[in-house]
Amino acid sequence: MANKSNNSPLVKKKTMRPVTKQNLITYVMVIAVFTLFQTLSATGNLKYAHKALLVPVCTSIIMAVSLNLVVGVLGELSLGHAGFMCVGAYAGSFFSVLTEDVITVSWLRFILAFVIAAVCASVAGILIGIPVLRLKGDYLAIVTLAFGEIIKTIVNALYIGKDADGFHVTLDSTKLNIAADGQIILKGPQGITGTPKDSNFVVGFILIMITLFIVTNLMDSRTGRAIMSIRDNRIAAESVGIDITKYKLMVFTISAALAGCAGVLYSHNISTLTATTSNFGYNMSILVLVYVVLGGLGNIRGSIISATILYALPELLRGFSEYRMLIYAIILIVMMIVNNGTYFVKIKEKIFYNFSSKIKKDKKEVI
């Protein structure tokens, strides 16, 4: 008994906890990959087409990690994550275009754009969080999908201009009534043009590190345990006094804010921001969900790896040009069946059992 208690965390205070170690590996991995590509890019060893992928990959990673907080950590299925990105992208771009002449220090303006986008996206997160409290499973999934589509449709119909009288907001372009010296910032389906191109790989990297810091520390804290307890067993969590409403809303808010920041990164990397099915529609939300599921639910490092590979994969398959999305689809289906199919799971268990039966025998004593 005395020997065994050496294993308890209380005694091995000095050694690193497994969670901390895992998180550290993730940080090191991200830093290493960043350094590699930054060097390649700086020394001119990266093709232009590949260089153009760097910021979008960062966006995908942030989207995947923040969605994993909802799907993997809280255990709720969301199909509207791109909607939050959309809110953030538009809020950030709007702010940057509006203040481009006022705030001339670009980094300060960019930081403010992130803050404003995060706030706007988290308000959207709270709005969607309310139905979340009443709905479960597939019903929740369809509501989040609907919510994302609503956001996309509204920004596509919205016109906002500014002149000496202040802001003019309308859904009908003929009724904007803007003075001749005014400026139309958001032009309905034409979106926002002229967003300063402030995003780059370094900003993307910093944003990934901030996201990682927030998400991993949150998971490894009192709040994170409460969230995961809701995922594992809602009724038991309530029975030990966990306030389900509070934590669900909190997760949706944080996740939305991070997605909003990803939106700013995205919108400050392109010249014309428009909302289409492929960037802010349910297609995008589903794509991000695929990253999360293939990377492993609740597995942050997995999300980063799968977002990187799966985003880059179709681009790297350009050699096969027209077959690339077909190959992508087949890879996706095959991976899901191999990972989750009854037949394959049985085979894996068998292999694993043969491999580990020896270890298990030794462990039986303890049990």
């Binding site: 294993n7 995922r231 309530e238 030990v240």
Partner: protein
């Protein structure tokens, strides 16, 4: 004043009276049993007392405070903790973290302190770990602290559930069939543990159990439920001899 005062509690599911006119008074420190055949409404009583179901009639008070209509989390904060018949652990969390979730409202620091690793985080986490390990030790689970809850053997999962419930610092502990699936040795050990935690943590315990050796071994008094209504009530050995009770269990 009694710790728990249940008056005429009842619930109807689509015309069926699952529990009807249930009354119970528990003094502080009592170890009370709730028995009855399958489907008698025992677990429903627990679900009513913990706010999982809203009663259609009657009231219940803990320490003189009205509890009816409160949400499960509020009722737990007020001082009622429970275990479940079909074990409900946080399967993907470690044994230690399961108990730490139980300590959630006992030792606090803000989410911001957690994310930014402010001093409160380290201080409170350390205290939480110590307290949780102390609790696990009572149930002989401290050596499994880092094991995933789902990897524990069945008997230990039941114990972990009790430890988690006690971590919430309750006044009243509701145990739903704690000995289910245990062998006689384990049951005996469990009886010791229940008595110990009652004394050590200053608890009042209400237990649902089918294992009569456990019931007669630890419960001072019991209530027998049948078809949602009270069949008998009183000192354990007397009630168990009651011919009505024997008939309810063995049939006509």
């Amino acid at each position: 004043m009694a710790l728990l005062e249940v008056k005429n509690l009842g619930i109807t599911f689509g015309g069926l009276k699952a529990v009807d006119n249930f009354n119970l008074t528990l003094e502080k420190g009592a170890l009370y049993g709730l028995i009855g055949p399958n489907g008698a409404g025992k677990t429903t009583v627990f679900n009513l007392l913990t706010g999982v179901y809203k009663p259609t009639s009657g009231t219940f008070m803990l320490d003189g405070k009205e509890m009816k209509g409160k949400k499960p989390a509020e009722i737990n904060k007020a001082g009622i903790a429970r275990t479940f018949q079909n074990i409900r652990l946080f399967k993907n969390l470690s044994v230690l973290d399961n108990v730490k979730v139980g300590l959630h409202n006992q030792m606090k620091y803000s989410t911001v302190a957690g994310i930014f690793r402010l001093p409160g985080f380290f201080k409170t986490e350390k205290k939480m770990t110590e307290k949780a390990l102390e609790l696990l030790k009572v149930f002989g689970l401290d050596e499994h602290a880092d094991t995933l809850a789902s990897n524990l053997p069945y008997g230990k999962q039941r114990k972990l559930e009790i430890a988690r419930a006690i971590a919430t610092n309750p006044k009243l502990l509701l145990l739903d069939e704690p000995a289910a699936g245990m062998n006689p040795n384990e049951t005996n050990e469990l009886m010791e543990t229940i008595r110990f935690v009652r004394d050590h943590f200053d608890l009042t315990v209400l237990v649902i159990e089918h294992d009569m050796s456990l019931v007669s071994g630890i419960c001072e008094e019991i209530t027998v439920l049948n078809f949602g209504t009270e069949l008998a009530k009183g000192k354990t050995d007397e009630v168990l001899k009651n011919p009505e009770v024997v008939k309810a269990y063995l049939g006509q």
